[in-house]
């Protein structure tokens, strides 16, 4: 089979070109539709990947803040730090002085930091910043509750849970869109292939009467499906890169603290993902269309 595939490349390409040009308007419309579908897919998948990256980044930097009575001496604070550091799930414990807490808030507030000048005294208390493994959060909190000399513990559990929930939604949406796009592409391509077969019914019948195997008859139609779907995929991938660059530019200014993944990585991965998926769906749709068309 491979032998006649290679030696007949010229024939297959010409036949595919003829099939495409025969229903040119319909095929162009389908290419446009396919581009939009894959662009939608690319944007949802990009959202999924970015949110997952953000969650991972936040999880890696998961912290809880331990506040202690300000009456503790330096020796007692050191002892408390040592006790916290040995708890399972704690990566690092570090004392944050009131001055450092003030400076941090200044950085976060940026231009708005002038509101801090209205305070005659530093409004922030010193605390112990505990970097933990997020999956051990419950255990760490339980162990901290056993310790004396702790006023209270502030964790970001709710924020983290919200983010995790959001990532879950994006992931679900991602899967849902991949499935929906897959089905839509299969249907569109299969329909186009059937139209092409209908249009070339006599040609196909002649090939059958001459003894051509199904695989030989199918190749030009598979090529057409592949070209339309992968063509839509390539266009969508290019558009999605422009869209991502624009979104990154919009986000980087006002929200600099969001740990976005590197643009280069995400565009390359997205480009490959959309093109490979579109090519596979194109081939699948063509095979489905050809096998369900009544060509015998």
């Amino acid at each position: 089979m491979m032998k006649y595939l290679f030696k007949n490349t010229d024939y297959f390409m010409k036949e595919a070109k003829i099939i495409l040009s025969t229903n040119l308007l319909s095929n162009l419309t389908s290419l446009f539709s396919m581009t939009l579908i894959f662009l939608f897919l690319a944007m949802v998948v990009a959202g999924w990947w970015v949110s997952s990256h953000i969650i991972e980044a936040i999880q890696d930097e998961a912290e809880i803040n331990v506040f202690y009575p300000e009456t503790l001496t330096a020796t007692e604070i050191s002892a408390l730090l040592e006790e916290i550091e040995v708890i399972d799930g704690v990566r690092e414990a570090r004392l944050i002085h009131a001055e450092e807490a003030y400076e941090r808030m200044e950085e976060v507030l940026g231009k708005e930091a002038q509101v801090l000048t209205y305070f005659t005294e530093n409004p922030f208390s010193p605390f112990i910043e505990v970097n933990i493994q997020l999956e051990d959060l419950d255990g760490v909190l339980a162990d901290l509750a056993q310790l004396d000399k702790i006023n209270y513990v502030r964790d970001n559990r709710e924020v983290l849970e919200d983010l995790r929930h959001l990532a879950g939604i994006m992931q679900f949406l991602g899967y849902l869109v991949v499935v929906a796009v897959g089905i839509a592409t299969l249907i569109i391509i299969a329909h186009l292939i059937k139209l092409g077969i209908d249009h070339n019914r006599e040609h196909i019948k002649t090939l059958i009467l001459l003894g051509a195997p199904d695989s030989f008859i199918a190749v030009p139609y598979l090529l057409v499906g592949l070209l339309l779907s992968a063509g839509g995929g390539v266009l969508a991938a290019i558009l999605s890169i422009f869209a991502l660059k624009y979104i990154y530019a919009l986000t980087a200014g006002p929200l600099p603290f969001i740990p976005l993944p590197p643009l280069g990585n995400i565009t390359v991965n997205l480009f490959l993902f959309v093109i490979i998926l579109s090519a596979l769906l194109g081939l699948g749709g063509s095979i489905f269309g050809f096998s369900t068309a009544k060509v015998k």
Binding site: T206, F216, K296
Partner: protein, 221 residues
């Protein structure tokens, strides 16, 4: 090459197209099937090509019994045949050369041999100068010759020609019959030709089978 024993073909609507056909065709034999319209000539060719299947009797082509549930075998047998269709079945939008090559594309031939065989076949039918002409620009007679070129280029074991002399003048019709006879000699092919032109048959060496209302009326050795 071909063995038909009591072959009957009845269509689902009850029409009996062929009844009790007994026929044996040897290698390099030329057989003319004649008879009026509706006598079953084309139905017999359809049976031989595996487009229809006997509803009674047995039909063997190249030693294989034809069954409709053995399409792979039929497909293989078709690659050993050179069909010349009454309506030519040329593919529009393609050149004469491309149409002749179409019959060779899925045979086990190198590309160069495909091209040379197709060019040679067009030369034999006198259309080498029209090799690159789209088939829709050819005359009726030229189209028919391209169809014959497509069949003979395959160097088939059996050539099946359905009314290849139809609508041709005597000289061109004789040329076509001579061409098919030459192909039989060149590639040891059996040739089965359906035709109305009984006045041309005497001038070539071949057996005549006359069909009447689906039954064999006469078989000259």
């Amino acid at each position: 090459m071909i063995e038909a024993k009591n072959v009957t073909l009845q269509y689902p609507d009850g029409t009996v197209a062929l009844r009790e056909i007994n026929l044996s065709v040897k290698m390099r034999e030329i057989v003319f099937i004649t008879g009026p319209s509706g006598s079953g000539k084309t139905s017999l060719l359809k049976l031989l090509m595996g487009m229809e299947f006997p509803t009674g009797g047995t039909l063997k082509v190249l030693g294989r019994t034809l069954h409709k549930n053995e399409m792979d075998k039929i497909r293989w047998l078709r690659t050993l045949m050179g069909p010349v269709f009454q309506d030519f079945r040329l593919v529009k939008g393609r050149t004469a050369l491309e149409n002749v090559m179409l019959g060779l594309r899925f045979l086990d031939l190198p590309l160069e041999e495909m091209k040379s065989r197709a060019q040679e076949a067009l030369f034999k039918v006198g259309l080498q100068h029209k090799a690159n002409a789209p088939v829709e620009n050819l005359s009726w007679g030229e189209g028919q010759r391209v169809s014959i070129a497509r069949a003979v280029a395959r160097k088939p074991a059996i050539i099946l020609a359905d009314e290849p002399t139809g609508n041709l003048d005597k000289e061109n019709a004789q040329n076509i019959l001579e061409l098919l006879a030459a192909s039989s000699r060149d590639s040891n092919a059996s040739v089965i030709i359906t035709t109305h032109a009984t006045h041309l048959i005497d001038e070539t060496k071949g057996r005549i089978i006359r069909l009447q209302k689906g039954a064999m009326e006469r078989a000259d050795e």
